[in-house]
Amino acid sequence: MNFDYNEEQQLLADSVRRYLADKYAFEQRQTIVRGQGWSAEAWAQFAQMGLTGLPVSAEHGGFGGGAVDLMGVMEAFGEALVVEPYLSHVIATRAAERGGATDLLPAVIDGSMKLAFAHNAKGVTAKKSGTRWTLEGEVRGVIGAPVVDRLVVTSAAGELFLVGKADVKAHRTMDGRLAGDVVLRGVEAQPLEGTVDHLLDFGTALVCAEAVGVMKFACDTTLEYLKTRKQFGVTIGTFQALQHRMVDMFISLEQARSMACLACSRADAGGDRKSISAAKIKIGDAARHVSQESVQLHGGMGMSEELKVSHAFRRLTVLAREFGDTDYHLARFASL
């Protein structure tokens, strides 16, 4: 039993936090959001820190990082509300390597090639004629799709394909990230070994970790606000009604963190999908609780576009529904 990160994991998370504090403060983040929706400079920096190739095995020049190795990074990204499509890239990279598309990996590691994971439960139809596979269908809201170089697309049957070119209609998610609706009309695709299930568990675990980071920020900033905002001649944190709500936010955060630890550990061990669903249920409930309370305790300021907390609210609202919302995971939990 040991709930700490190992030294490497801690050093990596620390260096990511240092970088983000320096180059990805809220105003800088907003400049990126208002601009193209992602930063080539930030991505290059991620590559330099070894993040783009983190999930790649050592055999192919990466670090062989699993969910627990990525957990601290995802938490740090959550705290800073990073908008680059890192999680989508990480999942697609894992699919590409395990599926046999190892030729891409050097470019993935050095940051010159970005990947995205295009999954939708309805799925895309895959057809085979001779040795040639083509895909037909649409995947909406793929994070990062407009700027990546390759897509890993899942079919209705749960198979995986690598796609180079597709029509992408770009838009922004409600939390300011760049996404795209991918239209595949007889697009040629390279089949990848493996199936979608373990990728979804991996992604679910990492989204839990990211949400914990956002909740940590939301709790910290709300606590700070309670200690500084004055009304009736005193700081509002002296009011017991607000203290107790703050405590409940803090408890939700710690309970969510426990479940993120469980999800990442279980994702690495393989199997135990039930625990991963349990984690997403808790993270979904906690994200809703912490986000709504953080805005309420900020009063009108919490509604403001100017304050980071309102952006954390949006991110938590989106993360609560990514990789299956709470209702989906309640049903899955019962079925397993």
């Binding site: 039993m1 107790h244 703050m246 426990s258 479940m259 469980l262 550990s265 249920i281 019962a334």
Partner: protein, 376 residues
Amino acid sequence: MDLNYSAEEAAFRDEVRAWLRANLPQDLREKVENYQHLSKDDLMRWHRTLAKKGWVAPAWPKEWGGTGWNVVQRYIFEEELGYAGAPPIIPFGVTMCAAVLLRFGTDAQKKRFLPRIYNGEDFWCQGYSEPGSGSDLASLKTKAVRQGDHYVVNGQKIWTTLAHYADWIFCLVRTDPTLEKRQEGISFLLIDMKTPGITVRPLILMDGAHEVNEVFFDDVKVPVENLVHEEGKGWTVAKYLLGHERMNTGRIGESKRQLNRLKQYAAPMMGESRWRDRLTRLEVELTALEITNLRFLDRMRRTGQPPGADVSMLKIKGTEIQQGLTELMMEATDPAASDELSTAIRKRYLSMRKTTIYAGSNEIQRNIIAKMTLGL
């Protein structure tokens, strides 16, 4: 990061589990599983069984009969007791009074009381709350006036759990009502329940059970050698006790057993998604609490530091989960049924409302986290 118990810890758990399977009497287990009343004899029979094995007071120093287990082993032991459906070890003697004596007692007090607590010869109760002093404990009024070799105690305690079984009561009393800082006028006394002037009156709670009492003190003479720590230092003792042994307030093992019981009892309702989702959410909260509890233990073991104020969340979440489970269990009974089990389950729902009120209400626990952990 590794969420699993080590091989040694798992082996320890298996040892405890196997021993409980062989030594927990079937009739006691059935009483606990069917929510039936446990008599004093039931409680003491189990106490003596554990004492004979040497496991009744794991946290005590070895010289007084402790096991020498670390915090993780003590946690595993407690959780296995709950999971197996063992009767509770009543905490007032073994956990509370003993902790105070071990920390503040004189050698004579330790020698006089600890072996009798260990062997179950003395049954203890706790005299803290008063009619006017609940959460605001430091306002207590029961007074003790020094007269020669004795204190003369007058006043009233309330909500005194199992006082009607008790041989002894440890009490917070006011020895100096004149001090401006009211905490400094409080002392910690050990009082023999057979002393003339003590009256115990039952308080029947809404489940119809007699568990708590009022205890009246009318010119009760207490020898000064029964004072623990110095006169006026009772609040220090009380605060120490508050911070002591708080790693098992989550009652994870007990709740796991209740969850399994509920799934079995309410099996026909598991196909009903509205019902099932409520159960799942409780199961998820319980899993999260178990990991949170282990995180605290891991931190304690690693740093060698006592638990921080944030462990109050174990009491808050643990009791909320216990209440949630008993509520679902109550709802699973047929409202028209009057059989023994259905009746016991409904009474348990009523009784378990106490958990968020006792041992420092959950509002007090939130105050503690707000002040000590969050700095509000």
